[in-house]
């Protein structure tokens, strides 16, 4: 307010105007924006350049026909040729389908299992914090390690999985070698790694629900199952959304697991996903532009997951 009055008053003489500009500049220099800039400037620059710049650059590369080694992409001649190729490539269809199956099956099974266990655990068991911690352990383990030992567990002759199901008179199955079983085997291993996390998120959600609601349902004569099904679980919407998103994000990052499990950029057909196809096209065949276009397709899939979530968080005012 004061500054605008100053400006009006000082409009007559040039000297005043200069002084006013100086004052405004001084205020600008003292504002939070400038004073805090050194603190957030570095991460913003790093992240902006590397991540967002990288994504844009990636899209740009996908519009060229850059391939081979050690020459610069030709940005003068941009077209959608690579996307036309990608969309009619049967390998892209197959890997997109696998990515989708993996995303949906892994996420939904982990959610249902996690919810079920959280409800059981919420109802009893002492020393809850210790239990929670151990359930989180598999998630902290490297994909490289878990991939190796699942490979070993799935071993046809002596693996633990075939030994255990052998006790029930089943199998043995060739989990890794059979193209129709391998995707399921990979999904199972991932569920092993992440269902504990889902459970802990749901458990946290359950614990924040007031006791009165259990009391009220009990007074109304509802059974335990009905109480959870009708009253409690519907309130876990935000836990479910954040758990589902985290799981889907992990599913989209599956590359490391597959790469570690099969030791090559080419996993068996049954479990080839967009990310492995993309890395293979880029770093084995040097088809940079083509693989950049596959990366863009993957980006679109990721955005389908992320954008609604961020919008939801924004609408709920959670950020």
């Amino acid at each position: 307010m004061e500054s605008s009055q100053d400006a009006v008053a000082g409009a007559g003489t040039g000297e005043h105007a200069v002084e006013d500009r100086r004052a405004r500049l001084r205020r600008f220099w003292k504002s939070d924006f400038v004073r805090s800039a050194p603190y957030w400037g570095i991460p913003l620059l790093l992240m902006g350049l590397a991540v967002y710049g990288g994504i844009i650059w990636n899209i740009l590369i996908s519009l060229t026909d850059y391939q081979g080694f050690l020459e610069r992409p030709d940005y003068g001649n941009l077209d959608l040729e690579m996307y036309r190729q990608a969309l009619s490539d049967s390998a892209v269809h197959l890997t997109a389908r696998n990515t989708f199956v993996l995303l949906v099956a892994f996420t939904s099974v982990s959610l249902v299992l996690g919810l079920f266990l959280a409800v059981l655990l919420d109802r009893d068991i002492r020393e809850k914090s210790k239990v929670q911690t151990i359930y989180l352990l598999p998630m902290a383990l490297s994909f490289v390690v878990t991939a190796q030992f699942w490979l070993w567990m799935y071993n046809y002759n002596d693996g633990l999985v075939n030994t255990v199901i052998g006790l029930f008179g089943l199998g043995p199955y060739n989990w890794i070698g059979n193209p129709s079983l391998v995707l399921g085997a990979v999904i199972f291993a991932l569920i092993w790694q992440f269902s504990g996390y889902t459970m802990v998120v749901f458990l946290a959600g359950l614990q924040s629900i007031s006791n009165d609601q259990f009391e009220a349902a009990r007074v109304d004569g509802a059974s335990i199952f009905k109480t959870y099904w009708r009253v409690i679980i519907p309130q876990l919407k935000s836990s479910s959304v954040s758990a589902a998103v985290v799981l889907m994000i992990f599913a989209l990052k599956i590359f490391t697991f597959l790469y570690a499990m099969f030791g090559t950029y080419r996993p068996p057909k049954g479990t080839d996903v967009l990310a492995t196809l993309m890395v293979r096209e880029a770093f084995q065949l040097q088809k940079w532009a083509y693989s950049a276009s596959i990366a863009t397709i993957l980006l679109a899939m990721s955005l389908l997951v992320i954008a609604p979530y961020l919008y939801y968080q924004y609408r709920e005012g959670a950020l």
């Binding site: 805090s36 603190y39 570095i42 991460p43 059981l120 989180l136 990052k253 770093f283």
Partner: protein, 298 residues
């Protein structure tokens, strides 16, 4: 969470326990424990079995027995694995990379988290969104541009390049977590310190950092694990044995036609040991952070 001081107000599980007492038949209780116990076994057995197998000879792995005899336990696998010079190099590389990445991310993250928590500037909300969304994107998306960038900076095949790559991935999450913890520190404390003539930096050093220690531990834990476990970025950025990290150590014991399973599993146990140790140290705060709503927003 209920906040009343009513003595009746015990925590939810106790309440439900009390409520269930009357209609919880022993049979149902056994059912519940059985399911949880099975899940527990499902989660832990593979890990326990792997650790056990690392102390036994190759023949145990391929025998039908599920538990090794006490006399069969041996440290021979560890001796063989650790005596390989290249495996040790990978281990040191992993240590150097993960430690430097953690220090770098914490330094930058504390500064950025502090600015987001204490300053009010236009675009702050957008910045938070931008940070959070990077966390959700698969890293392969930026692999090609990143590789070209590192190539032109001559950082391919150097530990520095790997540290930078890991930091770029780690900074957003680190900042996000630290901002949440710094938000929990009452601003009146920094006001008081400023009254006493502290600058922003000394407020940070004397007030914020000591009080945000649990948050720093959690952010450090996540960053260290991220860097320690990374395979993708290292596989692209490292091209000779001198810059490989531990995840590649496992490959040393695999070849096209023969896998030394006992050595491979021992290497895997060595690879996950620091993670489990760190987990044991940081778990209290990690669970606390998760329980208070996953990532702490406001």
């Amino acid at each position: 969470m209920a906040t009343s001081t009513d003595p009746e107000d015990r925590n939810l599980s106790q309440r439900i326990d009390a409520w269930l007492d009357e209609d919880m038949s022993p049979r149902r209780a056994i059912g519940v424990y059985l399911v949880l116990g099975l899940y527990f076994a499902f989660l832990l057995l593979p890990v326990v079995y792997m650790v056990l197998a690392s102390f036994t000879s190759q023949s145990f792995l391929f025998s039908p027995e599920l538990v090794p005899a006490l006399g069969d336990l041996t440290l021979a696998n560890y001796e063989t694995v650790l005596s390989r010079g290249d495996f040790r190099t990978y281990f040191y590389n992993s240590m150097i990379v993960a430690t430097s990445t953690t220090l770098l991310v914490l330094t930058v993250g504390i500064l950025a988290g502090y600015s987001m928590s204490r300053f009010d500037y236009p675009g702050r909300g957008g910045l938070l969104y931008a940070f959070l969304s990077t966390q959700m994107l698969p890293i392969v998306l930026i692999l090609i541009p990143f590789y070209i960038l590192m190539f032109s900076l001559n950082l391919v095949d150097s530990l520095l390049g790997i540290v930078i790559a890991h930091s770029v991935i780690g900074i957003p999450l680190g900042t996000w977590l630290l901002k949440g913890y710094i938000d929990d520190i009452p601003e009146s404390l920094d006001e008081a310190a400023k009254m006493d003539g502290c600058s922003h930096l000394s407020v940070l050093r004397r007030v914020i950092v000591p009080l945000a220690m649990p948050g720093i531990a959690v952010a450090g834990f996540y960053t260290f694990i991220l860097s320690w476990n990374d395979y993708l970025l290292v596989s692209v950025l490292s091209q000779t044995a001198g810059t490989r990290t531990l995840p590649f150590g496992l490959q040393l014991f695999q070849s096209q036609n023969a896998v030394a399973w006992n050595l491979l599993i021992t290497a895997a146990v060595i690879t996950m040991a620091p993670v489990i140790l760190l987990f044991a140290v940081a778990q209290r705060w990690v669970v606390e952070g998760l329980a208070s709503g996953g990532m702490k927003g406001n």
